[in-house]
């Protein structure tokens, strides 16, 4: 019976370690996915300062979980790893929203830039053309006035 109890406790310990490891792995994956989402949002030009601060909260707890795991404290490790998941998911969702907002904002900015370039370019060329015409006329007039008169005698 004692042997049976020993086997049970051994099996329980292994099962608990496996479970803790898988929780740590899940937390690691969640934080990495959250970081990928933040990086994507940043590349589209979104302001990710707040999201990154939240990600750091999750990363900090994950580090604590890893440290607890190394000291052999499985219960604390599991609890800390579990608490990482909702924060990481919140970061991912927030980063995806920020990315969408930045994409729309970027699209509007691109259209505004194109519109500005076309209108400003057209106005500039038109004004330059009108100035050129006026300049050309005054140049020809000044040439006509400077033309020497032929004496008929």
């Amino acid at each position: 019976m004692a042997f049976g109890s020993f086997l049970y406790s051994e099996h329980y310990a292994f099962a608990q370690t496996d479970q803790t490891e898988s929780k740590l792995q899940a937390a690691n994956t969640a934080v990495e996915q959250a970081f990928n989402a933040v990086l994507d949002a940043e590349k589209t030009g979104a302001n990710v300062t707040g999201t990154l601060a939240l990600l750091n909260t999750a990363a900090g707890i994950l580090a604590q979980a890893e440290n607890s795991y190394r000291t052999g404290d499985s219960n604390t490790t599991a609890a800390q790893a579990d608490s990482v998941l909702p924060i990481a998911q919140e970061v991912t969702a927030s980063a995806q929203d920020a990315k969408q907002t930045a994409l729309i904002s970027n699209q509007n900015a691109v259209w505004s830039t194109i519109a500005f370039t076309v209108i400003a370019g057209f106005v500039f060329v038109l004004v330059l053309f009108l100035v050129w015409r006026r300049f050309k006329r005054s140049y020809i007039n000044s040439l006509s006035e400077a033309k020497p008169e032929v004496n008929s005698q």
Partner: protein, 199 residues
């Protein structure tokens, strides 16, 4: 100047003007290459200066150092900073080969920082359950930021440096988005320690 000459001046002014007006639109299309990309890792003493680093340590006494990371990667980066503890014979990271130490990390930090931003943290540590006997010493317990680790690390008296040499070192690892894994960034700093006496 003849009229043809003035015409050329107007055409040139027109072209330059159009280019200037199109600059914002061209800026969206043409991307100039950025500068050199790198991460930096540094260690400061307890006064947050490059001085008064702990060296001669006594069991049961608290010591502190500041460890910091700077990012110049052009975008945000996710770092893992491992703290490892070894003696004079343990393998240190190899900067030439770019390989980390084979020692298992004791403690770690995880953080993400934006480009051109520094991260810094105070690390408190102490050793306990230490002994010195003749030419041999042993540190059994290392406490880092109130987390206790059993290290069971022996060291032999080094007659050249007249120390029982221990090393508390920091390895910087970075998350690689392409591979989806954390990789050694070939940045490490080492704090050499000498166990002088036990309580």
């Amino acid at each position: 100047m003849k009229l043809e000459g003035y015409k050329l001046v107007f055409v040139a002014v027109g072209l330059i003007g159009v280019l200037l007006i199109a600059t914002p639109a061209l800026g969206d299309v043409i991307r100039l290459p950025g500068g050199e990309q790198f991460s930096e890792l540094y260690l400061l003493g307890p006064d947050n200066m490059a001085a008064n680093y702990p060296f001669n340590i006594v069991a049961g006494q608290n010591y502190s150092v500041y460890v910091g990371v700077g990012s110049q990667l052009g975008s945000s980066a996710y770092y893992v900073l491992y703290v490892k503890f070894g003696n004079q014979t343990d393998q240190m990271p190899n900067a030439t080969l770019g390989t980390p130490s084979s020692l298992q990390p004791l403690y770690e930090y995880r953080f993400s920082i934006q480009d051109s931003v520094n991260w810094e943290s105070l690390l408190n540590f102490s050793v306990s359950n230490a002994s010195i006997s003749g030419n041999n010493s042993q540190i059994n317990t290392l406490q880092i930021n109130n987390v206790t680790f059993n290290v069971d690390k022996p060291a032999v008296w080094n007659s050249n440096s007249t120390t029982f040499t221990y090393q508390l070192f920091f390895e910087l690892w970075i998350y690689n988005v392409q591979t989806g894994s954390v990789e050694f960034n070939n940045r490490f700093v080492n704090l050499q320690l000498n166990l002088t006496r036990t309580p």
